[in-house]
């Protein structure tokens, strides 16, 4: 029964979309006068895409900015009160500081690990290279919630004297230490959460960097080798400069992903013990506290952070177009 309902939903959803395009096309071709058809036709093609993006992204972005100046239920304007609240609230300052840490650490470490694996695996026979890469890449298929469960199990803590079922505490107590409730340790629990993100994203970095490394012309490497450069020198002075643009792309892609991460924090700590980040705090304000104004301010923060990347994307797109 359940399965049938789901199947029905799938057929209706997909069929409905196909029918929409056929219907629009039919309307244009059969009801409009000849000279209007040419003008209308492109809109059959782009209309639905524009409409849905406008409705779900463009309009809400503006609406969110407006709501950030309104009260908890978006009924009246309150000026900059929400902004003042969040600027003066010590919890928010910590949250933003955590985001800065995530932004500094996660992209850099993911790129470093990805680069290391790409370089090392490149020196193996293809069979082993592929196996190693597949295993590093595999976490990319796992959800943030799934990955958090996996790592929650690694960080699991039991009181002293009980058997430790989390592998980290098992190793730690084997070394003669007392068990540690890792996620409660304010000095470094942020980093333990970042490990999850790095674990997920290093494979992505590796795939792109590996492709870029394989694209580095052999003769530049040979030339350096003939000049007597060591393998380490070749890597830093010949390979890295030639893949710099890939490193930047990978780093910024992960950075933007990091900005939006909330699932890991939600299921691991719920933002307690000084681990909150902006995207999670947003959910807390919106759903738990029902403070739409404050929630909107946090989104405005996210928008502002992404604006430089938006501009650089557009600029790069323009350059590509003029080079075509």
């Amino acid at each position: 029964m359940k399965l049938l309902t789901a199947l029905f939903a799938i057929v209706v959803g997909v069929g409905g979309t196909v029918a929409l395009f056929y219907g629009l096309n039919y309307l244009v071709e059969h009801t409009l006068p000849q000279r209007m058809r040419d003008t209308a036709r492109p809109w059959v093609f782009i209309g639905p895409a524009i409409l849905i993006v406008g409705l779900y992204l463009l309009f809400p972005a503006l609406d969110t900015i407006r709501r950030s100046f309104m009260d908890a239920r978006s009924t009246s304007f309150v000026g900059s009160k929400n902004y003042e609240y969040l600027v003066t609230d010590p919890g928010t300052r910590e949250t933003i500081w955590n985001n800065v840490l995530w932004i500094l650490v996660v992209p850099a470490v993911s790129v470093a690990v990805g680069l290391a694996v790409a370089v090392l695996a490149d020196k193996l026979r293809p069979k082993w290279e592929n196996t190693a890469k597949s295993l590093i890449f595999l976490p990319m298929a796992i959800s943030f919630v799934g990955a958090s469960t996996i790592w929650g199990f690694i960080y699991a803590w039991r009181a002293q004297g009980q058997p430790q079922i989390g592998i980290l505490n098992a190793i730690w107590t084997q070394l003669g230490n007392e068990p540690v409730a890792w996620l409660d340790q304010q000095q470094y629990n942020d980093f333990l959460l970042m490990v999850i993100m790095i674990w997920l994203q290093a494979g992505f970095a590796m795939v792109l960097l590996s492709a870029a490394i394989k694209n580095v012309p052999d003769d530049t490497i040979e030339a350096a080798r003939i000049d007597g450069a060591t393998e380490v020198q070749i890597f830093w002075r010949v390979v890295v400069p030639q893949i710099r643009s890939t490193i930047v792309v990978v780093g910024t892609t992960i950075l933007i992903l990091v900005l939006k991460v909330f699932d890991i924090v939600l299921v691991m700590t719920g933002g307690r013990n000084g681990t909150d980040v902006v995207a999670h705090r947003f959910i807390t304000e919106m759903i738990n506290n029902r403070q739409l104004g404050r929630a909107s301010v946090l989104v405005v923060f996210l928008i502002v952070v992404t604006i430089p990347f938006m501009i650089s994307n557009i600029r790069r797109f323009r350059e590509q177009e003029s080079a075509r």
């Binding site: 959803g13 524009i50 959800s143 919630v145 792109l208 939600l266 959910i283």
Partner: protein, 302 residues
């Protein structure tokens, strides 16, 4: 995400046997150091998943009293009971819901984006450039912008908690990347192909269905994998627009609530987590080649 993934490489599949390029000498002097270093990284990357998998098949008592690595000493003590418990406890229904969410939320944006991309690549109309630049700009916009306004709109329309609500949301959030990728791909198809169809009397609509779609399958497939994995693994959109009622709850939400309510029942959590991972892992292993090709051809979802 970023608008472009670096100089597009020609040899992007790692199944290529082209491992001799770009590297140093074959394993020799430093060969063992390389192998050991790599083995350590691979081990650190794999152990978490192995621990999860092993624990999910261990009896509850064993999971409570010993680490999963000690299973080596009792190799025959396996059970499927954890899976049965979790599946009956709502994960089974959630699995079906996840399919009902993910399949349309993958197909709908592909269709809509392919139409739009065709128009951007091959049709003349006013505002074409400007509108495409808007799509490029939207690539990095955090989807959080949509949540407050859309939640308001959905509740006034009364469609909160329906599949339709999440399909449309995922369609919108996946659209900028899809339009961007498809337009670049379709734009690189040879002009003569489209011209010849026109000479044969085909309109844009026929050209699109009979010619462009079949030719664009590589790009469409690569994107389909991303979007499907992204929707299947999503928690945010499901949490806000669909909610946790049993008849619509998806696997990620079920697992998250399991983590909240059964935080110490690791025999159930591990089984639950593994169920949520099955479909992505099948997709991953069977389509890895296309997945990698998609990544290197145009980067990922933002």
């Amino acid at each position: 995400m970023s608008a472009n993934a670096a100089p597009a490489p020609d040899t992007e599949e790692w199944s290529d046997t082209d491992a001799t390029s770009g590297g140093g000498p074959r394993p020799g002097a430093g060969g063992w150091i390389v192998r050991i270093a790599l083995a350590v990284i691979v081990l650190v990357w794999t152990i978490p998943t192995i621990g999860l998998l092993v624990s999910s098949f261990r009896p509850e008592a064993a999971v409570r009293t010993s680490g999963w690595w000690s299973q080596i000493t009792t190799p025959l003590d396996w059970t499927l009971e954890n899976y049965a418990t979790v599946l009956d406890g709502g994960m089974g229904a959630a699995f079906v819901n996840s399919l009902a969410v993910s399949i349309p939320a993958t197909v709908i944006p592909i269709l809509a984006a392919a139409f739009a991309a065709y128009a951007f690549a091959w049709m003349e109309f006013r505002g074409r450039e400007v509108m495409f630049v808007v799509f490029v700009a939207l690539l990095v916009v955090p989807l959080q912008v949509a949540l407050v306004p859309m939640l308001r709109m959905y509740s006034s329309l009364g469609i909160t908690g329906t599949f339709l609500a999440v399909w449309l949301a995922h369609t919108a959030f996946g659209m900028p990347l899809a339009v961007y990728l498809f337009r670049n791909y379709m734009g690189s198809l040879p002009r003569e192909v489209i011209e010849s169809a026109k000479v044969d009397g085909a309109g844009h609509f026929q050209t699109f269905w009979r010619l462009i779609i079949p030719l664009s399958v590589p790009a469409l497939a690569a994107y389909a994998i991303f979007q499907f994995l992204w929707v299947w693994n999503d928690l945010l959109v499901a949490l806000v627009f669909l909610g946790g009622s049993p008849d619509v709850q998806v696997v990620t939400l079920n697992l998250a609530s399991l983590l909240g309510s059964q935080g110490q029942a690791w025999h159930l959590l591990t089984a639950g987590a593994f169920i949520t991972m099955t479909v992505p892992l099948i997709v991953f292993f069977s389509l890895q080649r296309y997945f990698v090709r998609g990544l290197t051809a145009g980067s990922v979802k933002g």
